[in-house]
Symmetry: C2
Subunit: 278 residues, 2 copies
DNA sequence: CGTAAGGTTGAAAGCTATCAAGCGCCGTGG
DNA sequence: CCACGGCGCTTGATAGCTTTCAACCTTACG
């Protein structure tokens, strides 16, 4: 299941985080524990939101220390989900939400005719599984694009706690709403007619999302293979590859396998037909 | 602002509702009050969920009579939003959710380059505005596609009530989740490469949604103009028109202006690459 | 160092956008 | 009441873009 060949150059590019004052380097590839590969991916350990890099975007945002403590008590941490492993499968009963601590995932829906479609790329600080509440079953499966780590939040307990902690209810609404807003962005992205505009929009979108998480806005890994990008954008892998080459010739981006540098973000934003932060 | 020319044949097709046992006819076109055109669209009157046709899909679903009563007290009903009028504008401060009692709306986002994009079609029983919570501002504007009526739900009060009524919190989560699941359907719809598959998928999608609301699964009005369908699907109006003609020649559908009859839903589903209920 | 999977590049075919013309319905105004 | 004008819709021909098919290259891993 793990990827075997292909391009996969500089591991850990996305791990370069910029705090507000100092520049700190964290080798995420090592942090998530490549050393214990023999252990199960279902391995569970204690949760500590206070030292989590995505706490500002995650459920504890806006909660008091005391409420965070109650949240931690119902949370289970899965240390490692290996690249290619599935966090949950399509049709699985909905029991928990999963908050991404590190790494990235793709959500894939299998259509009735058997064709697979990538519907979402999930980054650190985002929740997986929100769309399963209404039907109590996961409509898609979630597969790790790289070695990742998540927190499991049993929803029944989360719901009860939200009833007692107003700030938590607010934050759940907030994350639901934020994901809806993002889906609207995706619809806009896919609504763009030209392949060029779609890919440019995706690059800007991922850049913005990494920026919010404190990563570099211009240097990051496209952790997903070209074919997943293509599937997600409603294109073919060949078209995506050609576009990436063209963008590189036009000096809009610099590419080395899956590592990408945005050289001209405003230029890309113009192609995408969106505004950007610089 | 109201549409002036063009096709707009049998008004009220969507108003043909089928209850589980008896077939009842309700002329919605008349119900929503074409007689008081002089009055403002902002007109407000009392809310009564108990006689609302979409209560099973709306916020009161699963609540006790007593809790519904508390919900009604914070709800304001806007009797009529005329076709072409906007319920809220892009950038408006988020204060309320809007539940659609009757009619239909389109959500439109204006991109940075000025281009408009239809991101959603909303039908009775659905909520508008959920995506505005996280930013506290509406990312899109909502325009009535026909004369419609909505309930306004001030969110601050709704939030407070949800804290006291567990069933209401559950139902809000439910509606958030349901909308997320639907957006995933949209992404799948747009991810289809061929124009044929996209349009077929849209027809199936709207049919399923009307079915859930008790309307006919095979006969309904496409209340939106071709150009909006095209924009939504990432196509042109000409392509949509050609496809509709082709589907008609293939005896998949029967079309009369905006009134549409699905003659071969399984056939459409095959084209769309999805399963369908019959 | 060989193999397999991911990725890149090229040429031809197919599909959709674009441009253009014409039709039908509706509301308006004479 | 009827003619006019506008808008939405339909249909046709052409150009352009993306897919498809195919070959080849690159990288990681055994």
């Amino acid at each position: 299941m793990t990827r075997q060949g292909g391009y996969n150059l500089p591991e850990g590019v996305n791990a370069v985080r910029f705090s507000s004052k100092a520049v700190t380097r964290v080798a995420a590839g090592r942090v998530i524990g490549l050393s214990n590969e023999k252990k199960s991916a279902e391995q569970i350990s204690k949760v500590s939101c206070s030292n989590c890099s995505v706490r500002a975007l995650c459920l504890p945002a806006g909660l008091t220390a005391q409420d965070i403590d109650r949240l931690e008590q119902i949370t289970r941490k899965k240390t490692v989900i290996k690249a290619g492993d599935q966090l949950f499968r399509a049709g699985d009963k909905f029991t928990s939400l999963y908050a991404i601590r590190s790494g990235s995932f793709k959500s894939v829906v299998i259509a009735a005719d058997g064709s697979a479609q990538v519907t979402h790329f999930a980054l650190p600080g985002e929740l997986l599984g929100l769309d399963a509440y209404s039907t109590q079953a996961h409509p898609s499966y979630a597969e790790a694009l790289e070695n990742s780590s998540v927190c499991e939040l049993p929803f029944a307990q989360l719901e009860t706690l939200a009833q007692q902690v107003p700030g938590l209810q607010k934050q759940i609404f907030n994350l639901f709403s934020e994901e809806l807003r993002q889906e609207k962005d995706v619809v806009m992205l896919l609504g763009k007619r030209s392949a060029e505009a779609r890919l440019a929009a995706l690059l800007i979108n991922i850049s913005e999302r990494y920026t919010r998480r404190g990563y570099s806005a211009t240097e990051f890994n496209l952790t997903m293979p070209r074919i997943d990008i293509a599937n997600y954008l409603g294109l073919t892998a060949e078209t995506v590859s050609r576009l990436i080459s063209r963008f590189q010739k036009q000096e809009l981006i610099k590419v080395q396998g899956r590592a990408i540098t945005l050289l001209d973000k405003p230029g890309l934003a113009t192609l995408a037909g969106v505004s950007c932060s610089d």
